[in-house]
Amino acid sequence: MIVDKAGTPITATDNVQPDTRHGVILYVEDVSVSFDGFKALNDLNLYINDGELRCLIGANGAGKTTLMDVITGKIRPDTGKVNFGQQVDLLQLDESEIARVGIGRKFQKPTVFEALSVYKNIELSLAGDKGIWTSLFGKLTGEQRDRIDEILRTIGLTNEAFYMAERLSHGQKQWLEIGMLLAAEPRVLLVDEPVAGMTGQETERTAELLTSLAGEHSVVVVEHDMAFVRSIARTVTVLHQGSVLAEGSMSEVQSNPEVIKVYLGEDSGEDSGDDNSEGYPSESGEEYIEASSSKEG
């Protein structure tokens, strides 16, 4: 049985309501992780506020994915504290329990259940009781069906709903994984490079989606696509060699010489300018879905 700090058991059915009286939903304090002597995370401190959308950037190998691994229980840190709200110590829980208390994750490399249909993929991810007997005897309620249909529409895979997931292209898998994340209705979403392999248009849709989620959910996004980051970011945290290098608004970070040196590069300015003017002509979401659904026709 999963027990929170106060000793109250956490039931499988419900996401816990974390104690966010201080406005912070995720505490990462003094976390260090090392592999064979290599420090992937180095005394990292990070606080994610309830309902905020936080962008996490940093050079390749800075430790962003490792940080997500720590939060979701895939890696146990050598030292440090990770709390969900004030009372739930995530280090006491295993992966599935962490998922159940309300932390969802999209992986850097899209991972979906390849032998299951797109529909089943989402069905399995729905929030709710994850116990054996419920799974055995439970039936989908109408409400849940509607929810799945809605998600399928959002991610543009309605037509592919009964395809085996392994048939999807790379980008479609990315979307499916986002869909699975939506289905789980987590309090905190950890999204690792969501727009890799997406066209400019899709990137924009993703941006919209993530922005709309913020508020009710807390979202942490890792991305290297600066245009994308710029379009969604309120607060940006820059990681470098396992610790926080800079934190602030996008423009603050962007003008930080240190960040430019290790991450953005000299001509970052021009690039981004191009991006906005040419890359993302705005279109509405509905049309996207139509276009993508006609693909496999």
């Binding site: 292209s169 980008g171 066209t199 400019g200 899709e202 290297h224 290790v262 690039d271 693909k295």
Partner: protein, 231 residues
């Protein structure tokens, strides 16, 4: 250099490529673009021989490649950076790089130094397992690995996925440099327009397994973009 004519390709029952024609000129930089799932990766796999051609012809350097095996491609100078990196996770970075030294064109049995100049991070991590690298590091390794075999043609499938901006710039420069200085032909699949514009000289737009439009990058106008790339 690379010529495909009337190529049809299926996965089981579903046809992915339809009567596809493509002509890549020697020394050119061609950028293939299209929405998710239109068959870009499939096309590259066909060129690499990873998917045996069901119907149609393929020649590289004037040689018929339809019946040739995958492993014969590196020998005639085709380097490939696949989508999803495909690093050998249990091999060290060094071993990953060494593998392509096997190819017939390689006289030297040492990894060329300039690789490390391009991607200094790899030099630091030579003894680390490929699978342990971060996503971006793996991507760099994948490109480096293709460069080790000293290619004449470099085929890259979304090489920027997950790479930090300054390295994206680096890769852009490298590709341009390789093309200009060594005359390496570059075939690139790319979703991000700015990068495509910067690197590509010619573009190919795909939709549902057809080549819909192609030409010089300079001629890629907003109309085409919104028709085939936007949603």
């Amino acid at each position: 250099m690379i010529e495909l004519a009337k190529v049809n390709q299926k996965y089981g029952g579903t046809q992915i490529l339809w009567d596809l024609n493509l002509n890549v000129k020697k020394g050119s930089r061609t950028c293939i673009m299209g929405r998710n799932g239109v068959g870009k990766t499939t096309l590259l796999k066909v060129i690499m021989g990873i998917l045996p051609i069901a119907e149609g012809t393929l020649t590289i350097n004037g040689v018929d490649m339809v019946k040739k095996s995958v492993e014969s491609r590196p020998d005639i100078g085709v380097g490939y950076v696949p989508q999803g990196r495909h690093i050998f996770g249990q091999l060290t970075v060094e071993e990953n790089l060494k593998i392509s030294l096997n190819c017939a064109r390689q006289k030297s049995k040492l990894i060329p130094e300039h690789i490390y100049e391009l991607f200094p991070v790899l030099k630091e991590m030579l003894q680390r397992r490929g699978g342990d690298l971060s996503g971006g590091q793996q991507q760099q390794l994948a490109i480096a690995r293709a460069l080790v075999l000293n290619p004449e043609i470099l085929i890259l499938d979304e090489p920027n996925e997950g790479i930090q901006p300054n390295i994206v710039q680096l890769i852009r420069d490298v590709l341009l440099k390789l093309n200009r200085e060594q005359g390496i032909t570059i075939v690139l699949v790319e979703q991000k327009l700015p990068f495509a514009r910067a690197v590509g000289e010619e573009f190919v737009l795909m939709e549902k397994g057809h080549v819909m439009s192609s030409g010089l990058m300079a001629d890629l106008n907003d109309d085409l973009v919104s028709q085939y790339l936007a949603v």
